[in-house]
Symmetry: C2
Subunit: 223 residues, 2 copies
């Protein structure tokens, strides 16, 4: 982890798409930016020979992605038993940026950024790495929050499993811009263009049991 | 498909969570509402013994979910060869509704609704079902759009694979409400509550090649 990572990840058979190759990027900064823009990933693993896709929180720290969960949850239990062997996973993060309305149904699409990581996830057992990862997951949702909350105690840590996945085999797929209609469709009478979409955060809603006068902290998204 | 579906789906070993069981629902209307609220799913399948999680567009029609893709893409190619056998998949749809900030890091969470379907996906070969499914996918993104665009021609249909997954083995997990701090943490000085989040649609951006004077149709999300 002390070596300088390359400017781009090496494409592999799994990360080179069979089509729309121009949409794929292996650039390190692009991969990091897509991972850093989200906090919910979809984690895929195989159980009894069949796929499972679980939404879960994550954080990137350098060239690692961490996910956490209850030690009672299935993927974490599976991986917790696999400290040495690792759990084969595919971790996908997707941001939807727009609805693309072409004149033809066929060319309808969405604008998006999606990172797909392949690899083996390992249970993190080192105490310092575990607490660092849990801080990172909290700070990934709301930067600055880890320092402004009570950190996990020993009992809570014992209930929490943390998995680590190295960012090595990864690609980002991106679609941007307007519709790509066929030349023979340009005279059709349909409206065509893009409807932008983005997550918008509302005003913070205080908990029922929050003491009066405690103001929302400045690190929260502006409501 | 002509029988009346039950009011709830039958829980199975795969759809009963090992923890937080109170968050799980098998209610048919709940499942439908979570599926209908989105248009991007994360489709998991197994390739060479390892998981793959692909973001893709989908639509629900009755008790079926349809996804489509290029006949050149890997999962569709795999399933296209498996008309009889089916492709084991897990299709997950997740909506994030809020960031839950507790006083303790441990109780940080997100409010969300997530549907997880397990089953075997089959390539759809019937022409009428294929065109119906493609209409449904376009209308799922923007209701009313399928009738207001040029439908796929024979050449485009030949390039498009459609998969069908029956809604049978499914659960919805939901978290709502405020943080659930421990009683001994209630006096801690940290702000606590929920930051709501939702996708917001912007004003439609016309394509560069759209003729002047073509107004955005009324079925678009209000920008």
């Amino acid at each position: 982890m002390s070596t300088t990572p390359p400017a781009a990840y090496r494409p592999t058979d799994r990360t080179v798409p069979t089509r729309s190759r121009e949409r794929a990027s292996y650039d390190r900064e692009v991969v990091h930016s897509v991972l850093d823009a989200g906090y919910v990933c979809h984690l895929g693993f195989v159980r009894d020979g069949r796929p499972v896709v679980l939404p879960t929180l994550y954080a990137r720290v350098g060239e690692q992605v961490y996910v956490h969960g209850s030690t009672g949850s299935r993927p974490l239990r599976t991986a917790g038993r696999a400290e040495d062997a690792g759990l084969p996973v595919c971790l996908t993060v997707t941001h939807v940026d727009g609805l693309v309305l072409a004149r033809s149904a066929f060319h309808h699409s969405i604008n998006y950024r999606s990172a797909m990581l392949h690899g083996d996830a390992y249970a993190v057992t080192d105490h310092d790495e575990r607490t660092m990862a849990l801080d990172a997951i909290v700070d990934h949702i709301v930067p600055g929050r880890a320092d402004d909350s009570r950190r996990a105690n020993a009992k809570e840590l014992a209930k929490t499993a943390v998995l680590r996945l190295a960012i090595e085999e990864v690609s980002v797929k991106t679609r941007t811009g307007g519709p790509g209609d066929e030349p023979e469709d340009l005279e059709l009478p349909y409206w065509t263009g893009v409807v932008p979409v983005a997550p918008v955060y509302g005003a913070p809603v205080p908990a029922d049991d929050l003491a009066p006068g405690v103001e929302p902290p400045g690190y929260l998204p502006a409501g």
